[in-house]
């Protein structure tokens, strides 16, 4: 009995490959050629992707180089942006991008975790399908729709009243200091949160669903309540996936152009208060590219380079984080 079992569990591929290679060591024919052809194609596509990436980096950096040269480090440390005077400090845009993205994550991540946990762990079967599909559908809505909806519906009904409220009652805290504006870091952050919540939710849901049933059962069998099962068995397994999903959402938030351009207020300034208008990197590129000339264009491309660098840095940080999680 024991013997029989251990034989059965021996890798079956061994015998399969054994018979295949018996006698004929070199396999010829279409299959083999297709194999090498595919290998070449795969390698070529890999090189192509790297090539395009490299080309993009080199050409954009090249275009922006004169401005980098003339502005020096003040390109990213100064917030004086005056194209007519040839002054190109982009700190206000960097600040706006970072602040709106952080606001978006602070709202979207807890919300997404809640929704995805509800969908995977709590919701009755009847709700699971429709709600899940609605979430996936929301993830596919173009951002300009979010932007317009934000301006015409969310701004008067939610953003402006909430900004007013925050400034009025919590204005003593610097980040809520008035005079309040609906078009603000907060407004852009909220619309970003609404945009990235479906993506993060959808990904987290998949992550939670891949947590092995064995883990849950182990916890249940020890007398864990549902919440303890989630805390101890589901979330630890899903940590890396949650970070990954968050990073994807963050990536979208950092680069989001049109919805932010519509809601951030387009003011070249750095304000500690989130209910004040600001600007973001992608938004300024989109807004000013049409009428820009000469160094102004180069500066806008330079902003693109900085945004690209910022995205890469954040991505690498996320990878390091995921790597650390996977090790423990």
């Amino acid at each position: 009995m024991l013997l029989r079992r251990s034989v059965r569990s021996a890798p079956s591929s061994l015998s399969a490959s054994g018979t295949a290679s018996a006698g004929v060591w070199r396999r010829k024919g279409v299959g083999r050629r297709a194999d090498s052809l595919f290998a070449v194609l795969a390698a070529l596509s890999g090189v192509l992707i790297l090539g395009i990436l490299g080309w993009m980096v080199v050409s954009t950096t090249g275009t922006a180089l004169p401005v980098f040269g003339s502005q020096g480090i003040s390109f990213i440390t100064s917030s004086r942006w005056s194209p007519s005077d040839g002054e190109f400090g982009t700190l206000a845009f960097i600040y706006g991008t970072v602040v709106t993205s952080v606001i978006a994550l602070l709202i979207a991540v807890p919300l997404s975790l809640g929704v995805s946990l509800f969908l995977t762990e709590y919701s009755p079967k009847r709700l699971k399908g429709p709600v899940g599909q609605a979430v996936d559908l929301l993830a596919a809505v173009p951002s300009v729709i979010y932007g317009l909806w934000g301006v015409f519906i969310l701004l008067p009904l939610f953003l402006q009243p909430v900004s007013d409220f925050l400034a009025e009652y919590l204005g003593f805290i610097p980040i809520f200091k008035g005079p309040p504006s609906g078009l603000s870091y907060f407004g852009a952050g909220v619309i970003l949160a609404i945009m990235i919540t479906p993506i993060i939710t959808s990904l987290c849901r998949e992550v939670f669903e891949t947590v092995p049933g064995a883990d849950r059962h182990a916890a249940y069998a020890l007398g864990a309540t549902k919440w303890e099962v989630i805390r101890q068995a589901v979330l630890p397994r899903a940590r890396a996936g949650i970070v990954g999903a968050t990073m994807l959402g963050l990536g979208r938030a950092l680069g989001e152009t049109i919805a932010v351009a519509l809601l951030i207020g387009s003011s070249v300034s750095i304000d500690a208060s989130i209910v004040r208008p600001g600007y973001s990197m992608a938004a300024v590129i989109a807004n000013q590219f049409q009428e820009a000339t000469g160094d102004h264009i180069r500066a806008l491309v330079g902003i693109g380079v900085v945004l690209f660098a910022l995205t890469i840095i954040i991505n690498m940080a996320a990878r390091a984080l995921v790597w650390r999680f996977n090790r423990t």
Binding site: M1, L2, L3, R5, S6, K125, P212, A214, D215, R216, H217, A218, A219, Y220, A221, L222, G223, A224, T225, E228, Q232, A233, P236, R237, T328
Partner: protein, 293 residues
């Protein structure tokens, strides 16, 4: 079943039994003077959706024994063992009818919290399933959620010793449990189960994913554990059932020719020695002699 015998208390002393068939394991077990069953199963049926998986099981599980559940694949062994700690509830559509009395109390009665049931009745699964945490945290998990206030280090050591794993892992308690071998992982799962101080331990084919040596270690461990715990084990392996258990339940699949519906029934239940040497039912005899299954 043999009578209670208050005279015989010492370990290792065989008890004269009118049933004449006394298994090797019976000789080693200690008999408490008065013995109430840990579990009394009364007319238990389980169905998944419309399909009945198990019908009309009635049996008493005796304390501090190893009770084996054997039978061909699909006859409902896992279904039955999951009834003892209400794990069937986690399967959508599962429906349990009948009674499972734990020390006389119906664990399926309204108002009984399955979480509390599971704190008394631990379970070890077919595939070792340690959490992706350190060895230490795996043991500490159950104790923590059960509100254990004592010395955690001491509990971890005690549990690991009981599971015969301490010497192998004492130097790497903070290492991931997933780095252990399959057999070590399974013993860790046993340690994890006993760390919450259950009364009963359920094991669903605990050794079927393990090699023969790891299997023997688990079997030895079960012999150790039955001094303090009642153990119910599902096994495919009849030699294993014969080696380790005191009592054996044989389940078999009944088929309704008209509808070709299939469900499991309890064919025979009794002392392991008797089930294997002089089964009363033809189907049991065929099964234990390897004629089918």
């Amino acid at each position: 079943m043999s009578e209670k015998s208050p005279m015989v208390q010492e370990e290792g002393v065989d008890m004269p039994s009118p049933a004449a068939v006394v298994s090797r394991d019976d000789a080693q077990s200690r008999r408490p003077p008065v013995e109430q069953p840990v579990f009394s199963v009364r007319d238990l049926s389980v169905s998944y959706g419309k399909n009945v998986a198990l019908k009309g099981v009635t049996m008493d599980i005796r304390p501090r024994r190893i009770t084996a559940i054997i039978g061909p694949s699909g006859c409902g062994k896992s279904t039955l063992i999951r009834c003892f700690n209400r794990m069937n509830e986690l399967i959508p559509g599962a429906q349990v009818d009948g009674q499972v009395l734990y020390h006389g109390e119906d664990i399926y009665a309204p108002g009984v919290d399955p979480v509390v049931v599971r704190r008394h009745v631990g379970m070890v699964f077919q595939r070792p399933n340690p959490f992706p945490k350190s060895i230490y945290d795996n043991i500490a998990f159950g104790a923590k959620i059960n509100g254990y206030k004592g010395d955690m280090d001491e509990l971890v050591e005690r549990s690991l010793r009981r599971a015969a794993l301490w010497d192998e892992v004492k130097a790497k308690l903070k290492k991931s449990a997933l780095d252990l071998s399959g057999g070590q992982q399974q013993r860790l799962c046993i340690a994890r189960a006993i760390a919450v101080e259950p009364d009963v331990i359920l094991m669903d084919e605990p050794a079927s994913a393990l090699d023969p040596i790891a299997t023997v270690r688990i079997e030895d461990l079960m012999q150790e554990l039955k001094r303090d715990y009642s153990i119910i084990i599902v096994t495919h392996n009849m030699q294993q059932a014969a080696r380790v258990s005191d009592e054996t339940a044989f389940l078999y699949t009944e088929v309704d020719e008209a509808t070709s519906a299939r469900w499991g029934i309890l064919v025979e239940f009794g002392k392991t020695g008797r089930i294997f040497t002089s089964p009363r039912d033809k189907r049991t005899e065929d099964y234990v002699s390897g004629r089918f299954g």
